[in-house]
Symmetry: C2
Subunit: 335 residues, 2 copies
Amino acid sequence: MQNRKITIAELPKAQLTPEHFRLEDAEMPTPGDGEVLLRTILMSIDAANRSWMQGATYRDAVNAGDTMPTYAICEVIQSNSPRFVAGDVVETESVWADYVVRPARGLEKLPDARPLSHLMSVYGIAGKTAFHGLIKVGRPIAGETVVVSAAAGSVGGYVGQIAKALGCRVVGIAGGSAKCARVVDELGFDACVDYREPRLFKALRAACPDGIDIYFDNVGGQILETAVFQMNTRGRIVCCGAISQYDTDTITGPRNLPGLVVVKRLRMEGFIVMDFANQDATALRALRKWVEAGQIKIEEDIIEGLENAPNALIGLLAGENIGKRMVRVGPDPKG
Amino acid sequence: MQNRKITIAELPKAQLTPEHFRLEDAEMPTPGDGEVLLRTILMSIDAANRSWMQGATYRDAVNAGDTMPTYAICEVIQSNSPRFVAGDVVETESVWADYVVRPARGLEKLPDARPLSHLMSVYGIAGKTAFHGLIKVGRPIAGETVVVSAAAGSVGGYVGQIAKALGCRVVGIAGGSAKCARVVDELGFDACVDYREPRLFKALRAACPDGIDIYFDNVGGQILETAVFQMNTRGRIVCCGAISQYDTDTITGPRNLPGLVVVKRLRMEGFIVMDFANQDATALRALRKWVEAGQIKIEEDIIEGLENAPNALIGLLAGENIGKRMVRVGPDPKG
C-alpha cells in the first residue's frame, strides 16, 4: 500500500495556480489506540477551500507546508476502536491524501446509500447547505422572488430547486449562456441571468419584475451590490459565500452597505452548514421527498484521481463545474 | 398671524451648508373639511433628514423647492374634524414652518406629559428607536458586550443606557475627548472610544476584551468596518443609520462584507422606528421604568427659533450636539 498527499507549496497571494501545490509520497500512517486508518474515497471540492488560504475563518488558517484540508468520505481499513469495523464508510474532516489516521471519536458512520457521491451532493454538504441556508436563514414564502448566484454550482442549483418546490419565483445568476440555459432547462429556474454580459443590472431587473425578496449570495462583490439595489423592503440576504473575493488580492465591499440595509430594513445573515447540524435529519427527509418527486435533479461533477485535486479546485474557482464537484480518490468498497 | 417656511434652495452635492436653504414668508394655510390648522412647537432634527436629500428612501426624496420635511409636535389651532379641538397637542410628519394644515386622519394626539420635549427625546422618536433597535433587532443578553456609535447623540445615548440596565458591558464610540468623558461619566457607559484619535482599532479592542456581541451602528463607513473585524461569532449588527455616508459625495462600503458575515455568522439587520409602532406601548412603559429608576438620564439639546433649523441640522451632522437635538419654533400652550 502506497500513500500520497498534496501539500501547500506556497500560499497564493492572488490567483491560485498548480504551482501552489505539491504532490508528495507519504508514509503510511499507523492508527494508535482509539484511532482508525481510513482510505479516501471522495473529497469535496468547495470554494471555501480557497478562503481557508486567506487566514483563519471558522477553522484554522491553512499554511505553507500543510497538507490541504478537505471534507471527505472514507472507508475504514483498520480500526482500533469498538465503534467501527473494517469496511465501514464514514465522513470526516480530512486532508488531500490516499490514507489518513483519525480518532474514532467524532467520526460519523454514513447510511448505506448508493451511489456514495449522493452523500456528498444532494444528501451531503451541498444539499444541506442549500436547505438550511434557504429555509432557516432566508425563510421563503410561496410567491416570493428568490435570486441565487453561482446557480449552476452545487449549492446554487439546490437552492433554486428547493425554492421552486416551495412555490417561489426563482432567478439564477451564472457565468455564460450555456450554464444559464442549463439552469433554466434542466433545473427548472424561471430565468437565469449571465453576469458576464454587460448590463447585469437591467437584465436582473427584467428577470425580477416584482423585485427580490431573498438573495442567496454565494459570490459577494459586484453581484451582491447589484442585488442589494433591487431588494424589496424586508428582504433577506443569505450570506453563504463570497467566491468573487477568495481568489484575488483586491477585496471590494458593496458601496450600498449599510445605507440600503437601513432604508429597506434588510436582514443580511451569514451561516455555515454545521450551525444547523441538529436539524440535518429534517433536511435529509425533505431533500429525499423532493428528489423522489422529481423536483430536485442531482447534478454531480466527479474528477478522477487525487493528483487532479489542485486543478479541480482551480477550475471550480474559474466556474468550470456544473453541479457538485468532488474528486474520486479510490473506489467504493461495494463497487 | 404670520407664517414662515424653510425651503430647499438647492440640493447639496457634497456637504450641506446654509446656502442650501431659504427662509421665506408663506401664506397662512386654511384647513378644509376634515383638516386641522397646526402651530409648530418642536421639530426633530435628525441625521436622517440629510439622507432624505440623497434620494428616495422609506419616504419620497426631498427636492429643490420643497419645504424641508420633519417630524414635529404641534398645537391644534383650528379643527374641522370631530377628532380634535383647539389646544390639543399632536405629533405629525410635517415641514419646517410656523403653521401647517394636515388631514386629521393619521394625526396622533400626544399624552398630557410635560415637558413636551421629553415626547421627542426619551419618550419619542429617539427613545423608541433605541429601544426597538436594541431589544427587537439586537436582542441583548446580560453579560454581552454592546458597542454603539454616535454614543453622545440621542439614540446612541439611550441605547447604551438601556443596555447597561439589561446587564451588558457597554462601550461607546464618539468624537472628541469631551464627549467621550461625558458618555462615561454622565451616561454610565463602561468605556468610550474617540474615533478622531488614531488607532481606533486598537482602542476599541482594548475596550472590548471579550469582543463585540452587538454593534448598534449609527454611522456606517470606516467605523462599521472596524467593528465588523471585532465582532464575535453570531454577533448582531443593528443598522440604524449611516451618518458618515449622508453628508458627502464619496460613499464607501466596508471592505470586509460579506466575507466576515459568513465566517462569523453575523446578522446585520436594518430597521426604522415605525416598523415597531405596534410595540410602542411596551417601549414607553420600559423607558418610563428606567427613567424613574435613574437608569436613563434625559439629555436634550434644544435650539430656539425656526430660522435656526438649517444650522441646527448642519451642526448635528458635524457632531456638535449632545443628546436629542430639536428646534423650538413656538411655546408649549401650557407654558
